[in-house]
Amino acid sequence: MNKKESRRRILSGNKFPHLGKYQMKNEQNPSIRQVKIYSIVTLILIVIGSGVSYWTAGRIEYYTDGVMHTSDVLQRTDELYSSILERETNIRGYVLTSNEEFLTNYNQSNVNAELLLIQLQALTIDNTLQQNNIEELRGLINSRVRTFEASIEYMKEHGDLVGFLDPNKINNALSGYTLIKDVVLRINDVENGLFQQKNQSLINNIYALPFIVGLISIFSITIGLMTFFSIYQFNKAQLAANKEITLFQQKLRDQIKLLDDSNKELEQFAYVASHDLQEPLRKITAFSDLLKEQYDGKLEGEGDLYLSRITAAAVRMRRLITDLLEYSRAGRIENEKVKSVKLSKVIAEMLEDFEIAIQDKSAKIAVGKLPKVIGSETEYRQVFQNLISNSLKFSKPSVNPEISITSEQASEELINSYPNLDSSANYYLIKVSDNGIGFEKTHVDRIFSIFQRLHGKKEYEGTGIGLSITKKIIEKNGGVIFAESSVGKGSVFNIILPYIKP
């Protein structure tokens, strides 16, 4: 089934028309592993994105610093150039007007200029070339300043500059400014050159960086969205699965109820059938008896034989019906209130009832320490009655029966081998062992079936219902019964019952 079809079915809510053929469509829905992978990739992309952004910010800062630095240098060189011109102007002004203010400005400019030069030097301290350039500049500026000073001296002395200026001085002035300008430009060029050098790659790729970051972001967002979507899908799948489980549970509950009702019906049927069957059987037995009484020996041919066969069959049928009734009654909850039962007490009482049979057969019965279990006293008495009566019945003819009843903790291995036992709970293992005639291993399950007998009617009496009733009772109380035996080696009946806190 492809994705489209699967999605359509999910949305239509009709995923599983046949609950019997149900299979969770895992391939279509994202597994938790996929969700994890998406989330990790998103995280990695975010980390990478952050890293790149951080690095980019760093580069931009570096670049900005570079720009600032260059701007600082250029600004100062310009200011220096302006300053020298300013001083020229101030000197002129002073010369023309003898206004002291021009002198003040000139002196201030000198101070500023020196400051600027020092700042320039500091800014380019790592560059020898620039340092030399700045020295040169300083030299050139100072030479102009000397001229200014000289002219001021002259002014102060003579009151004007007549006789001071000569073509040499004029030429010097002109060339001086040209030289200063050249140096200034040179300093600027060097500075710009350095800036270019340092930031060439960045300058080249300055537009790439935001692009890369943008790309990573888009990628991260996309993967992030995919993660969200897959989580959403996963959730949806989980909900659908849960719904399925709930549906199943309901179906299971319905089935259990049906089985329960059916069971009750069967039990009811067995009870009523047995009960109603007893009535005509009574009559058959009674009239056969009467017949036997009145016509014993008087019937021709094989009449007596036929009569005794009828009677025997009727008697046997009666026993079967009684046993069947007993079986259908066993395991009915209303039979007695369920409580904690002391097995040692039950067995002691039961053995009293068997005293005569025990003495008759000179049997030895050893009873170990027995626990308390949940159930009804009557039923547990029945259980052990059946087992002891069997052990006594099926004893070796020439050997005194020896029966032992012991109890121990059931091993985990044993508990695990029975799936209907709770593997996390504790159980007792009660063993009833005898030294009787035993039975073949192959019959080990058959003996617990209703009316199953391993021997002929003539050899041993009984309808073969005892063990089925026993098994029913044990299982009703949440336990298990199984037998071990081999011919001639006696038998062990093992009963596993749930542990209760003393």
């Binding site: 007893q278 009535e279 059987l281 009574r282 009559k283 037995t285 009674a286 009239f287 056969s288 008896d289 009467l290 009484e293 008697v315 009666r318």
Partner: protein
């Protein structure tokens, strides 16, 4: 064997099933003469008999019983109803009533004793046992206990 100074008891059996009626009569024959056991087929007939309503007003044919053997499940009027009625009538309530039924339910046992029956016997399965029971009944009620007049 009847002792000459002992008067054999008169038993009235209320039983609807023909076969059971036959068996009971046959069983009692061992210890009582035939005329000492009379039968009615249901609760209604039983009350009519006891109240001497015709055709049960013939005292020779239908003598007054010393004890009543009462089946519980009968048509028209069942044993439980009949028992209740008998125990509510002054002249009748001192006649011992023995419940003789197929039922062995605890409910029935408790209710009938509460209503005043003397005993509760479940019909035995074989004829042999039935004879034993009838013998014991006859023994007990005619020899062991004293009856009201």
């Amino acid at each position: 064997m009847l002792m000459s100074f002992e008067k054999p008891i008169q038993i009235l059996v209320a039983e609807d099933d023909e076969d059971d009626k036959l068996l009971i009569l046959k069983a009692f024959e061992r210890t009582l003469p035939k005329e000492k056991v009379t039968c009615v087929e249901d609760g209604e007939a039983l009350l009519k008999y006891l109240k001497r309503t015709p055709p049960y007003d013939d005292l020779e044919k239908y003598p007054k019983p010393d004890i009543i053997l009462l089946d519980l499940n009968m048509p028209r009027k069942d044993g439980r109803e009949a028992l209740a009625e008998i125990k509510s009538i002054d002249e009748l309530k001192s006649i011992p009533v023995i419940i003789f039924t197929t039922s062995n339910s605890v409910d029935d046992i408790q209710t009938t004793y509460k209503m005043g029956s003397s005993s509760f016997i479940t019909k035995p399965g074989s004829f042999e046992e039935l004879v034993k029971v009838t013998e014991e009944i006859e023994n007990y009620w005619s020899k062991t206990v004293l009856l009201p007049g």
